[in-house]
């Protein structure tokens, strides 16, 4: 696939902790095409955020370290860039928004100041130009009285509005990629829907690619073209959004989909949940990391960790079991 905007290959990230080295990301590979929205799904601690932070060199180091892999962005490896080089990618070509809008804006700086910074830094605008542009950006993300509100501080904005500000900030330099790290998780449902609508609209208008990290499959269905499901620092299934919902093939994906509450269900029994806890990996696993929680588990699962294999066009799964038949693949 030559037309990949971002091509991640074999990314591994580890954290040194007092208990030992935690293997957070264990060889993740995926690509992002131009104009595409990729949903990355998985429960907390599966390595979704760490993967994205690693790509942008934002892993706190120490204790974190990217130990292997490459992240090609327009032909250049982001992981090999110096601090100075990657600084001009961050915010300029790849924008990022975070989970909690309450804590991701600086409380002692005005919204205007925080919006103007990347404009002046990456585009070289004067203070005055940046102010004008910041006001435009605020109206673009649907904040009324944008000009006056530039002088306000984050605590004068509601949660939803702050996330709008974060989006405006991430998009201020017209990046080619927007990485959204659970941007709707901390918001109530109505605001979630508004933010998703906003991102969809901006995607049409600005034509950027998006990586949308979430643990909410409903959100993914609404926004993504393609989905990667992560577990224990691995991508365990990857497919187009329709294919994934129609033919979920990894036991974990099946479990996730099974845990969704359904409106069309007649009987309202207890919500399904996957038993057990996601693993914290102190060494690179030699077995399938999902094996302890898997109801299809076979002998082979304890001996070898399955790699991602194509099962049909653009649908890849890392599992020894064919969950349709219950037999070995």
């Amino acid at each position: 696939m030559p037309d990949l905007l971002l091509d991640i290959k074999g990314l591994e990230t580890q954290f040194k902790t007092p208990e030992g080295v935690v293997h957070a990301v264990n060889g993740v590979s995926f690509g992002l095409k131009e104009g595409e929205t990729l949903g990355v799904v998985g429960e907390s601690g599966c390595g979704k955020s760490v993967t994205m932070l690693s790509v942008l060199g934002l892993i706190p180091s120490p204790p974190g370290k990217v130990v292997a892999g490459e992240a090609l962005f327009s032909g250049q490896d982001l992981l090999k860039m110096t601090n100075e080089e990657i600084r001009h990618v961050r915010g300029a070509q790849i924008g990022m928004i975070f989970q909690d809008p309450m804590t991701s804006l600086n409380p002692v700086l005005t919204i205007g100041r925080q919006l103007e910074e990347p404009l002046m830094l990456h585009i070289g605008m004067t203070k005055h130009q940046a102010q004008e542009r910041a006001a435009e950006l605020l109206s673009l993300v649907g904040i009324p009285n944008a000009k006056e509100r530039l002088n306000d501080y984050p605590h004068q904005y509601s949660g939803g509005m702050r996330q709008r500000v974060m989006i405006a900030m991430a998009l201020s330099c017209s990046p080619q990629i927007l990485i959204a790290d659970e941007p709707t998780t901390a918001l109530d449902v109505t605001i979630q829907a508004q933010i998703m609508e906003l991102v969809k609209r901006l995607r049409e208008e600005l034509g950027m690619s998006i990586i949308w990290i979430t643990h909410d499959l409903g959100v993914v269905a609404g926004i993504a073209h393609r989905v990667a499901v992560m577990y224990g620092g691995y991508i365990i299934e990857e497919a187009s959004v329709n294919d994934l919902f129609a033919n979920p093939s990894h036991p974990y994906t099946l479990g996730l989909l099974g845990s969704l509450p359904r409106v069309d269900e007649v009987e309202h029994g207890r919500l399904f949940s996957i038993e057990g806890q996601p693993p914290v990996l102190y060494q690179k696993p030699t077995a399938c990391p999902f094996a302890p929680r898997c109801k299809w588990v076979m002998d082979r699962c304890w001996k070898e960790n399955p790699m991602l294999e194509s099962i049909s066009n653009e649908h890849r799964v890392a599992c020894w079991v064919d969950t349709k038949t219950g037999r070995s693949r």
Binding site: P62, R90, G91, T103, S104, E117, H155
Partner: protein, 353 residues
């Protein structure tokens, strides 16, 4: 912002009332004869004491005494007001052989002078060290700063002060104790030397005597060094932990994700937030300095308010000690007000709520 300041100002009278009640309460532990020296100047004779007790009603019910203590009494023959702390009459200092207020007026400028020159090294350097330690968390600078800080915390002031005195004065003869060289003291005492501000360093500059200015600084060097080293430990610790906490915040990651340089991230985004607890600490530190640093002033024979307080306490001069306590209370209230207002400037959440 204005309402915030007004609200804070409205608290001041209550605080002042509280301070006077406390000090007045402590005065009640003295018997009327001892309390009479609030009003009698010099070495009192027996009949003066009786007269004072009668005049200020020192054996009356407490609220009448409190009122007299606050406003004093106007002498019917001379028309002069005697006593009354509201009018600055804090009583007679036995150890100072002068009214307590005069003693404060004479000693406080020296303390103020010391504070003025100590603030920058004590606070700014301490903060700078703390920020460096946090930025290089667990690195060499951080480890060194922590060792340095532990030594500073555990070093008693008088031991450190004496060591400094031994090295820089006894061995090297660079920085003498005291306030001024004798020759300059005479100049300062003479009429040619005009006391514009009563602060020696400022006045010597205003009088065009750069030599006196340098001499004054030379005498203040060791006290400042001692104060600095002991307080750096505190500032370093508070700034370091506050900065580490701030650097973990998500908005710092946001700032990095925007592509800001590490310097901008640290000094423009993180530090202003990390300074909030440090502002409070700095306020208390300045109050501490202004109230007189007893051990440091005593070790270096520096004629500030601290050494006067030490002398007074050693000789059980309760009136002087309580006078100082009252004065200290005033400083604390004013400083607290200033810190609160500064806080509002640093933190928009305080200013705008």
């Amino acid at each position: 912002m204005l309402t915030y300041i007004i609200r804070r100002l409205m608290l001041v009278p209550f605080l002042l009332f509280g301070v006077t009640i406390l000090i007045f309460g402590m005065l009640q532990f003295l018997d009327p004869v001892e309390r009479a020296s609030l009003y009698v100047r010099g070495d009192p004779k027996a009949n003066q004491i009786d007269a004072a007790i009668r005049k200020y009603c020192l054996d009356c019910p407490i609220h009448i005494q409190y009122f007299n203590w606050l406003v004093g009494k106007v002498d019917s023959t001379t028309g002069e007001r005697e006593g009354g702390i509201l009018f600055g009459n804090f009583g007679w200092s036995k150890t100072g052989s002068q009214p307590v207020a005069d003693l404060i007026a004479r000693r406080f400028p020296n303390t103020l002078d010391l504070t003025l020159w100590a603030v920058a090294p004590v606070i700014l350097v301490g903060i700078w060290l703390g920020v460096q330690a946090a930025v290089h968390h667990n690195g060499v600078i951080d480890q060194a700063a922590r060792v340095f800080s532990i030594i500073g915390t555990s070093f008693p002031t008088f031991v450190f002060g004496l060591l400094m005195l031994m090295f820089f004065y006894a061995n090297l003869g660079w920085f003498p104790p005291g306030r001024l060289t004798d020759e300059f003291s005479r100049v300062v005492g003479s009429d040619e030397f005009i006391r514009y501000t009563t602060l020696l360093t400022i006045d010597s500059l205003l009088n065009g005597r750069f030599d006196i200015f340098l001499d004054a600084l030379r005498h203040m060097f060791l006290p400042i060094l001692t104060l600095s080293y002991i307080s750096w430990a505190t500032f370093l610790r508070v700034t370091r932990s506050s900065m580490l906490e701030t650097l973990r915040q998500e908005y710092v990651t946001t700032a990095r994700a925007k592509g800001l340089s590490e310097n901008d991230v640290i000094y423009k985004h993180a530090q202003p937030n990390a300074m909030l607890p440090v502002v409070t600490l700095a306020g208390f530190q300045i109050v501490g300095l202004l109230g007189g640093v007893i051990i440091t002033e005593t070790v270096f024979d520096y004629p500030g308010i601290g050494s006067a307080a030490a002398t007074a306490s050693a000789q059980l001069d309760v009136i002087t000690v309580l006078g100082f306590a009252l004065f200290n209370g005033l400083i604390l209230i004013v400083a607290n007000l200033v810190v609160d207002i500064l806080y509002a400037f640093v933190d928009p959440r305080v200013r705008l709520s």
